[in-house]
């Protein structure tokens, strides 16, 4: 026998269910007057540093239907590669950028985030990662929130040396993580299953 380790088990996850928006974006589902506005709707203000971009995401299920009852949260660095978080030890992030966004989709299943292009951040070994946005996806039928990243289609050089993209065993799946750019808008389609299944992470 050895000394006991004091450890608890993580609380088991359960699906967000079909009515997740009541809890997390109530104003978007006709419950008004409880909160002044839905949290995470607005990430930037007029003083935010960096290039303004729009990110449009869609979630597609294994029957090729667009999922319309999901919720997506994003988390990203500011224009200088710093996070607006007490756990950020490398400096102070732009106080005019939250770094965190949360959206329900519109009736067509499009999730729209008005944000800025993030700066590059280091991998633990000191190499730089390509600019990216972290995602957390929950919905009816998803038992444990899905984690993935969106990279930027116009960052070919950075993507080509990104420590995560370059280490994926199946290099033909790298494009599932890269959003093409058109004007100021990046479009990111997330496939839950099938030949184009997005790379999800266990991190």
């Amino acid at each position: 026998m050895a000394q006991p380790l004091i450890r608890l088990k993580e609380t088991a996850s359960q699906t967000a269910g079909p009515y997740v928006h009541i809890g997390l974006t109530p104003n978007a589902c006709e419950i008004s007057g409880v909160y002044p506005e839905d949290l995470g709707i607005s990430m930037v203000n007029e003083k935010t540093r960096g290039e303004r971009i729009t990110v449009k995401m869609r979630l597609i299920d294994g029957a090729n239907a667009i999922v319309k009852d999901a919720l997506i949260e994003i988390w990203q660095a500011d224009a200088d590669g710093l996070h607006n978080s007490p756990s950020e030890m490398r400096g102070s992030a732009d106080p005019n950028f939250t770094g965190w966004g949360r959206q329900a989709s519109d009736e067509n299943g499009v999730f729209t985030f008005e944000t800025i292009k993030p700066g590059r951040t280091p991998f633990p070994d000191g190499r730089f990662q390509a600019p990216h946005i972290s995602l957390w996806i929950v919905a009816r039928g998803i038992n444990l929130g899905l984690q993935t990243r969106m990279y930027f289609g116009d960052e070919e050089a950075a993507n080509a040396e990104d420590p995560i993209l370059t280490r994926l065993e199946h290099q033909n799946r790298v494009p599932t993580l890269i959003a093409p750019r058109s004007g100021d808008t990046y479009s990111f389609d997330i496939y839950l299953q099938g030949d184009r299944e997005t790379v999800f992470f266990d991190i």
Partner: protein
């Protein structure tokens, strides 16, 4: 100034055999929504070990009172009045202070205030169904609500959800993010529910069942249920390898 540094170590590996698997065909919605390829792992970077925080000043006075936060002045929601309280901890059994906890639920009749919920049970004009709070310095949270009702749902021809409250919890890092559901001690329907049964072990399910706590009731007002929540723990940074550029 506090005499403590924020923790910045990487998070413990998630025990994915403890959580419900993505593909759990007894819960039919998972069939076309479950990724089929193995998830990819890598060491936590700053993107994972950091996360958003929210200040107590953002909270409205009634945010943690679902009996009043949607009610007309002088009225309140119908149903058994309860307090739900507990502590947010991490896997090292340390309290997780200052994190946002959000919750939502059906009303006492088992009906959600949502245009897609067509259950026969009526809406309560004084009940919206959402609330939020932020843990204190010791990880404690509490809120007031009415006990939600059970309701039927279209999975099998005659399937019912046990009474439950949905929870979404932030940690200090974005990969601690967790959504779960709280059930009520003694409810025999817990063990028949296809969503509950996506969880592999009885022990993990018991971790979702709030205990009736008759010592913490508000006399002549509300009963109390205790529900502690455990988020992923993180390594101590004491002997962390030097993170170049970090």
């Amino acid at each position: 100034m506090k005499n403590t540094k924020p923790e910045t170590g990487g998070f413990f590996q998630r025990d994915r055999t403890w959580h419900p698997p993505a593909f759990a065909p007894g819960y039919k919605s998972t069939v076309v929504r479950s990724p089929q390829k193995a998830p990819v792992s890598f060491a936590n970077t700053v993107s994972e070990i950091t996360g958003p925080v929210f200040g107590h000043e953002m909270l409205g006075e009634l945010d943690n009172d679902l009996t009043l936060n949607f009610a007309k002045p002088g009225e309140s929601a119908i149903g058994p009045r309860i307090i739900v309280y507990g502590k947010v901890l991490d896997e090292r059994a340390r309290p997780v202070p200052n994190v946002l906890v959000e919750f939502w639920q059906a009303n006492a009749g088992g009906r959600y205030r949502h245009k897609k919920d067509g259950y026969l049970a009526p809406l309560d004009p004084n009940f919206g169904g959402c609330g939020r709070t932020i843990t204190d310095e010791d990880g404690n949270y509490s809120f007031r609500t009415v006990q939600p009702g059970a309701y039927p749902w279209p999975n099998g021809p005659n399937e019912w959800r046990p009474a439950h409250i949905h929870f979404a919890i932030f940690g200090h890092g974005f990969v601690q993010r967790l959504i779960t559901q709280m059930y009520f001690e003694g409810d025999p329907m817990i063990w028949q529910c296809p969503i509950v049964r996506t969880i592999p072990s009885r022990e993990a399910i018991e971790g979702l069942i709030a205990a009736l706590d008759m010592q913490s009731t508000l006399p002549m007002d509300a009963r109390a249920y205790k529900f502690d929540i455990v988020l992923r723990g993180r390594r101590s940074t004491m002997f962390e390898n030097k993170l170049e550029g970090n």
